[in-house]
């Protein structure tokens, strides 16, 4: 469980995180989404106390991260930036972290095995590829068998097999009742693993929602119908929760609130000929783009917009 209240971080003039309020609950995978520079990494650094908030608070399992007796057992974090000494082997890196907590060395071997690094555990981490470095970071995050796992852009640099491994791992961790908090700037990636979404843009909270709600808010699932008699079809389909739109004089209608099957059956019942019947799902990607584009425009430089607008 991670709870942020009015969390704010400023670096000089720049506000990286701007009054964020959110709760990350256990038992599900929560996606932390936003374009690059939205403040995701900063938020994660604030959570584990690498940076101190300018104002507001963030707690992990009810306490500030640094107040825990065994921080690695509370939160296992993979940060976006590399956090290893290239001269040390993967095994020695994990061992050094384990020693601070009294974590037994067999646990080090376990996470090395789990991350698929057994073959290279004794090699200098500096010689690791991006993907292997990422796996080492994840091994370190799992080391303390933490209640909360927090990963910043975990699929960066991973090959397809690695990406699938991460997905399975995240879902398994959530199924064990852990809190899983994963950031990404790729909605498509999040859509596959996350149940809950926290979307940020320019340091502000844009949405705290579920995957389904986000799609619904962005226009939901619509069905495109082309018919000989659009006016009659409108009347036939009308009902509570059903919304039919279409341009006058056009054969095409956009229907929400009914499935393609229901529309087809109703049309047949009333003898209306249909030329086309297409279910269109709004992609999460589109929903995400809409959300963040609005944020960018809203916060965007007003002078730039004026300059663009003035010749018109």
């Amino acid at each position: 469980m991670i709870e942020a209240q009015q969390l704010t971080k400023r670096y000089g003039e720049k506000t990286a995180v701007d009054g964020l309020d959110f709760v990350v609950k256990p038992g599900t995978v929560t996606g932390f989404l936003g374009p690059n520079g939205a403040g995701k990494s900063t938020t994660m650094r604030l959570i584990i106390g690498l940076d101190a908030p300018t104002s507001g608070t963030v707690t992990v399992n009810g306490r500030r991260y640094s107040r825990h007796r065994a921080p690695l057992q509370e939160v296992g974090a993979l940060l976006e930036a590399r956090s290893i000494h290239p001269g040390r082997s993967a095994h020695n890196h994990l061992k050094a972290l384990a020693l601070t907590h009294g974590i037994p060395l067999r646990r080090v071997d376990e996470v090395i095995e789990q991350a698929g690094l057994s073959g290279v555990a004794k090699k200098r981490a500096g010689a690791f590829s991006l993907g292997m470095g990422q796996r080492l970071g994840i091994a370190a995050a799992l080391l303390g068998d933490p209640q909360t796992v927090m990963l910043d852009e975990p699929v960066n640099g991973l090959d397809p097999e690695g990406v699938r491994w991460i997905r399975t791992l995240l879902q398994a961790l959530a199924a064990e009742g852990r809190t899983v908090f994963v950031s990404s700037h790729l909605m498509s990636e999040m859509a596959l693993v996350a149940d809950h979404l926290i979307v940020v843009g320019r340091g502000r909270l844009l949405a705290d929602t579920t995957v389904g709600d986000l799609v619904r808010a962005a226009g939901g699932d619509t069905v495109k119908v082309a018919t000989q008699d659009p006016a009659r079809l409108r009347d036939v389909l009308a009902g509570p929760g059903v919304d039919v739109t279409g341009r006058i004089g056009s054969e095409e209608l956009q229907v929400t609130g009914l499935t393609a099957r229901e529309i087809g059956l109703k049309a047949a019942e009333h003898g209306i000929a249909l030329f086309e019947l297409t279910a269109r799902t709004v992609s999460l990607e589109d929903a995400f783009m809409d959300l963040t584009r609005d944020a960018v425009e809203y916060h965007g430089s007003a002078t730039a917009l004026e300059t663009l607008g003035s010749p018109a």
């Binding site: 640094s66 065994a70 956090s83 001269g87 040390r88 061992k95 009294g102 068998d145």
Partner: protein, 279 residues
């Protein structure tokens, strides 16, 4: 039995989770493991030891061969077996101090510090552990090197005006003093690395403090010089392991106190920055 089961059931929050905990001794053990798991540690400690012993022997040999020629510079002619054997301290302190800087600043340049501070978010135990672990290692290496250099150096100059043995008053104090001085230089290096968070910056300040500042002070009016000079880190440190002392230098005990003061100052600065600044 049944009550026992019931109580375990109610504490569902932690089902058989091992009770890990960060403690001071564990952070020490971690820093000990980190120190020895890097190749640079072995190389630089080896270099430090080599400088200490080799330059001591070279200086002793130069003295021995120059003694008959009568072309020796007057200061050099007044050397003792201790000053000749410990000639390498100047070079060893650089290698050992630089390793101290690397131990802390190296964590920042590589990003390791994020892993370190995520494991120990209270932060200060990391600084104390690094300083203590590395300081003790250098104390052992430096003392060993000083004794080795004197053991062979004193044999080389045996029978000359510089000849001294272990039993001569002040010799043991000087040799232990050299080990202690190097250990404190190591701690200062560690502190500077943590304070400046930059390998280049840390090394520059270390070299400036130990080697350049005395030269700059000599540009001051001589009355000021006499007041300031003995208290500079290098000169106060020198007093700890010099066999002979005069009016312009501090006594070994006073020198040690002043040099400890500098060490504490550097550590305090490092601690302040570590606690106050984002990583």
């Amino acid at each position: 039995m049944s009550t026992l089961t019931a109580t375990t059931d109610t504490s569902r929050a932690a089902p058989a989770r091992p009770a890990y905990r960060v403690t001071g001794p564990r952070v020490l053990r971690s820093e000990w493991a980190k120190l020895w798991s890097l190749r640079s540690t072995w190389i630089t400690l080896g270099l430090g030891l080599l400088f200490l012993v080799a330059f001591g022997l070279i200086a002793s040999a130069r003295f021995k061969s120059g003694i008959g020629s009568g072309r020796m510079d007057r200061d050099f002619a007044r050397s003792t077996a201790v000053s000749l054997s410990l000639f390498g301290t100047n070079f060893a302190q650089l290698a050992l101090g630089v390793l101290g800087v690397l131990i802390t600043a190296g964590e920042y340049s590589t990003g390791m510090i994020r892993s370190t501070l995520a494991a120990v978010p209270r932060r200060l135990p990391v600084l104390w552990s690094k300083a203590l672990v590395y300081g003790l290692v250098v104390l052992v290496v430096g003392t060993l090197g000083a004794f080795t250099a004197f053991l062979f150096g004193s044999r080389i100059v045996a029978g000359t005006s510089a000849a001294l043995t272990f039993s001569h008053p002040g010799v043991l104090r000087s040799l232990f003093g050299a080990g202690l001085y190097l250990a404190l230089v190591a701690v200062i290096g560690t502190a500077l690395g943590a304070l400046l968070r930059s390998v280049a910056g840390g090394i520059s300040v270390l070299v400036a403090a130990l080697m350049l500042v005395p030269g700059l002070v000599s540009l001051l009016p001589s009355s000021w010089q006499d007041d300031i000079s003995p208290y500079l880190p290098s000169n106060a440190g020198q007093a700890v392991f010099s066999l002979t002392h005069d009016a312009t230098t501090l006594s070994p005990a006073a020198g040690l106190l002043v040099f400890l003061g500098w060490t504490v100052l550097a550590l305090a600065g490092a601690a302040y920055r570590l606690v106050r600044s984002d990583v």
